[in-house]
């Protein structure tokens, strides 16, 4: 690629670096002794699976969070950013994966939010608009500065986010998944902008799940796995295989699909299901998708962000309305049933975001575990304390939760154990089919293995299991069948013997030639 020229002599040009950085969240070790260099005027790509610590590292570099230990050096000097504002003033800007725009304000107001151009009488809106227009022209995006951000397409919002980062004259620009919402032509423009920026001496950290795309623009590659840097190289020396190998590793006991029994009848049947985009109803996020899952079978749904995995699972569970098609549980249609009714029929969902959707933080571990199955220990009008305690104790044992007991607070548990509480809560309802949306998100590797072993155990007892993941390694753990989703459709279906590269190719992540 064009930007790869003249890389060799640049090792001395380190502008920002992390030295021996550790970060602990409660008992979770998110980063372990990480060393990371950002090269002046170059693009450094950071690779790693979800939960590998990429976002944490970027948050540390941009002042969002402070490292537990270790140093950040800017131009060779130790610095500590107390806030993103300090980091921005030092020339470090970040474009977050989740957009951080105020949708109720105009493009202009968003770009100048917090640093409005003031005059004696107020804000110089005309000057702000002029600068906004220049920035957007540079990004080849024709948006009126006074348009409300809420009225823009997601891709355009991403462009605005980028424009905002550029507007502060960043010397170091961190882009966390900048292309996930962009169309192909928008990606092309972004890459042109990136090349333009680097030629002006701006250093860029580029994070993406689209490996091939990232490799196109980057000069250096760094791979993180489980909070540790596993490999560093110049982009011209490496290929996809190298990245995948270092991202995923080989020495992780990933478990195997449970065998030695026959699957039962079809438990969950999804027929021609369509789900409309919550904001734009003519867009289908799940597009005429059909899938049958048998009792005892474990199906993994793999896909990139925005592929429609979450929407599919939530629609099946009754959380979001379906546009057309139907869902059957043991041949009985679920149309029109509430979430509660689906749970009592035996269909449960373990949501993706356990803090937001899974746990009630104000209640104890025991109360969370028993929440979905209260009816099973109500005698007459009142709950039976004895039966509830039994149920809670059985759940704690069943899903191996490490806790001081049912009365401990949720906050006292590690992420992995919190996740087991959410899973245990749903399993306590004695379901026939369980849907798990990214069950391994944000939990450590030991807990992941336990969660998958648990799923294997339950499948052997006749439970139909569907889980989604964005980590390719996790497809190759306990799943009997791997479904790859891309733009709301099933793009491929594999058995457990498939290669990682094939899965990634089907998802649009990496094209294998």
């Amino acid at each position: 690629m064009s930007a790869a020229a003249g890389v060799a002599a640049a090792t001395d040009g380190v502008v920002l670096s992390a030295r021996n950085v550790d970060k602990l969240y409660g008992s979770t070790h998110a980063l372990k002794g990480v060393n990371f260099d950002v090269h002046r005027g170059k693009v450094t790509a950071l690779f790693g699976e979800n939960g590998a610590g990429k976002s944490t590292l970027m948050k540390i570099l941009s002042g969002v969070v402070a490292p537990t230990s270790g140093d950040i050096e800017l131009e060779g000097l130790r610095v500590s950013f107390a806030s993103t504002v300090e980091a921005r003033d030092a020339g470090v800007s970040i474009i977050h994966q989740e957009l951080s725009l105020a949708p109720n304000l105009s493009v202009r107001d968003n770009i100048f939010l917090g640093r409005e151009i003031r005059t004696a009488t107020g804000v110089d809106f005309a000057e702000e608009a002029r600068q906004t227009r220049l920035l957007l022209e540079e990004l080849e995006e024709d948006i009126d500065p006074t348009t409300l951000v809420a009225d823009l397409r997601l891709g355009q919002q991403q462009i605005v986010e980028i424009a905002r980062a550029l507007s502060v004259d960043a010397r170091i620009l961190i882009m966390d998944e900048p292309t996930s919402a962009l169309s192909a032509s928008e990606v092309e423009v972004l890459f042109k902008v990136i090349r333009d920026l680097t030629s002006r001496g701006v250093s860029i950290v580029y994070i993406s799940h689209h490996l091939e795309e990232a490799l196109q623009v980057s000069d250096y590659a760094v791979v993180l796995r489980d909070g540790t840097v596993t490999a560093t190289a110049e982009a011209k020396d490496i290929d996809l295989q190298w990245i995948v190998h270092n991202m995923v590793g080989d020495h992780y006991d990933r478990g195997a699909p449970p065998t030695g029994y026959a699957f039962g009848d079809v438990t969950l049947s999804i027929r021609d299901l369509c789900v409309a985009d919550a904001t734009k109803s003519h867009n289908l996020v799940v597009d005429h998708l059909s899938l049958d899952v048998r009792a005892g079978e474990i199906v993994c749904i793999y896909g990139l962000m925005g592929a429609g995995r979450t929407e599919l699972l939530e629609a099946v569970a009754g959380r979001v309305p379906i546009a057309s098609g139907e869902v059957l549980l043991r041949d009985r249609p679920l149309k029109g049933l509430s979430i509660a009714e689906r749970i009592s029929r035996g269909l449960v969902l373990v949501p993706e975001d356990r803090q937001r959707d899974g746990l009630v933080q104000t209640m104890s571990v025991g109360e969370n575990l028993s929440l979905a199955s209260i009816r099973s220990f109500v005698k007459g009008m009142l709950t039976s304390r004895v039966r509830e305690r039994k149920l809670v104790e059985a759940s704690i044992r069943d899903v191996h939760i490490k806790t001081a007991g049912g009365s401990a607070t949720i906050g006292s548990l590690s992420g992995g154990n919190q996740q087991k509480v959410v899973i245990g809560k749903m399993l306590a309802t004695d379901p026939k089919a369980i849907l798990l949306d990214e069950p391994s998100r944000g939990i450590d590797i030991g807990a992941k293995a336990e969660v998958f072993r648990l799923l294997g155990e339950k499948a052997r007892q006749g439970l139909a299991v569907v889980y989604s993941t964005s980590e390719v390694q996790e497809c190759l753990s306990v799943a009997h069948r791997i479904i790859v989703m891309r733009r709301g459709k099933i793009s491929a279906e594999f058995g457990p013997e498939v290669l990682k590269e094939e899965i990634m190719a089907a998802s649009g992540e990496a094209v294998v030639h």
Binding site: N20, D22, L24, Y25, G26, S27, G33, T68, S69, G70, A317, R319, S338, I339, A340, I343, S344, L349, P351, R356, D357, G358, L359, V360, Q361, T362, M363, S364, V365, G366, E367, S370, L371, A372, I374, R375, V378, M381, L382, T383, A404, G406, S407, A408, T409, G411, S412, K425, M426, T429
Partner: protein, 361 residues
């Protein structure tokens, strides 16, 4: 006994941190300690304060706020707020008064004098109906609780004024000939030496407490107040729970309205003006979080007694009513401040303890 020694994991119950034990006890039992301090101080300042007779009188004042506050607690546990209870109280009193005066049915040319129990039931139904309007507005039509109940507050007050034309019903005693006597029983009579109003408060509290700690509905209420999305995904009928708490709050307000008009033997359309704020204050002083999910009946009762005993004490020692307002306000601010301290400290305390700095590298 402090208010925190409730069933596991309710409002309190974190594993104890030894060095903070005393401070924590004082913090979490604050409403209880405040009540003791109030009783002590006024007992020293006035010879009349510390007597059974006075306590019973004060308790029957507290009963009104207490019953309102229990209803309010349910709504606040759900993460909402009910500003309409004061007006519902006033409207209920007026309706009760209206029914006691006799209902003229023009078409039939007769005047109906319903017996007292019918009046009580109809009034409570009315309270429940006002609550239902609140609940449906909030749960079905997604109107913010503050705005929905503010609107209903005005409508109910206006209705009360319309019914009476701004006047007050004074004759609620009924006549033996009509078979509708006994309305004064609620406000004046004693059972075993305890005013009936206080007994009603006790019954309402016991029911609410059992409901919150021992029924599925209580658990659903805590869950949907703590995290509505998680509760819904766990199969909790969050909408039903939400509507129910407003209905219950409305019924509590009607009960309080009946007791108040019975105590006063009159029903005025402006009764209960700004009582909703006193009820909210009692709930907050009792340690409930306005964000929902945390709080209990015991704390709310303590809160109601703190406010009632404080304002009655100030009257007894002859402090001007303007100062009473200032004192009550100060207590509320202090309570909210302590709530903020209590609920903010907890989540931080966990990671704070769990981070030993590892050696670099």
């Amino acid at each position: 006994m402090s208010e925190t020694s409730v069933s596991p994991g309710r409002a309190g119950a974190t594993p104890p941190a030894r060095n903070l034990e005393i401070g924590r006890l004082l913090l979490e039992g604050r409403a209880f300690f405040a009540l003791i301090v109030i009783v002590l101080v006024f007992s020293i300042l006035s010879p009349y304060y510390f007597s059974l007779g006075n306590f019973l009188t004060m308790a029957s004042h507290v009963a009104i706020f207490g019953i309102l506050a229990i209803g309010m607690l349910l709504v606040i546990l759900n993460g909402g707020i009910d500003l309409s209870v004061g007006s519902t109280l006033g409207l209920s009193g007026v309706i009760a008064g209206f029914l006691m005066q006799g209902v003229t049915l023009d078409a039939l040319g007769i005047v109906l004098y319903p017996p007292v129990w019918v009046v009580v039931v109809l009034t409570c139904l009315l309270g429940g109906f006002v609550g239902l309007i609140n609940g449906v507005l909030v749960a079905r039509f997604k109107v913010p609780a503050f705005v929905a109940t503010l609107g209903v507050m005005y409508v109910a007050r206006g209705a009360a004024l319309l019914i009476t034309n701004g006047l007050t019903y004074n004759n609620l005693g009924g006549r033996p000939a009509l078979g509708n006597t006994g309305f004064n029983w609620l406000g004046f009579n004693h059972l075993l030496g305890v005013p009936v109003g206080v007994l009603v408060l006790i019954v309402v509290s016991l029911c609410a407490n059992t409901m919150l700690s021992r029924t599925a509905f209580g658990r659903w209420l805590y869950a949907s107040g703590g995290n509505e999305r998680a509760a819904e995904l766990s199969g909790v009928p969050v909408k039903t729970v939400q509507v129910s708490v407003y209905v219950l709050s409305g019924i509590c307000a009607a009960a309080a309205g009946l007791i108040l008009s019975s105590q006063l033997t009159s029903a005025g359309p402006t009764a209960g003006l700004s009582y909703e704020l006193t009820a909210i204050a009692a709930v907050v002083i009792g340690g409930a979080a306005l964000t929902g999910g945390r709080g209990n009946v015991r704390g709310t009762l303590l809160g109601a007694f703190v406010i009632g005993f404080l304002s009655d004490g100030l009257v007894i020692i002859g402090i001007s009513s303007y100062w009473q307002t200032v004192f009550t306000g100060a207590v509320i601010v202090l309570a909210v401040l302590l709530n903020a301290v209590q609920y903010q400290r907890r989540p931080k305390a966990v990671p704070g303890k769990a981070i030993p700095v590892p050696p670099a590298g």
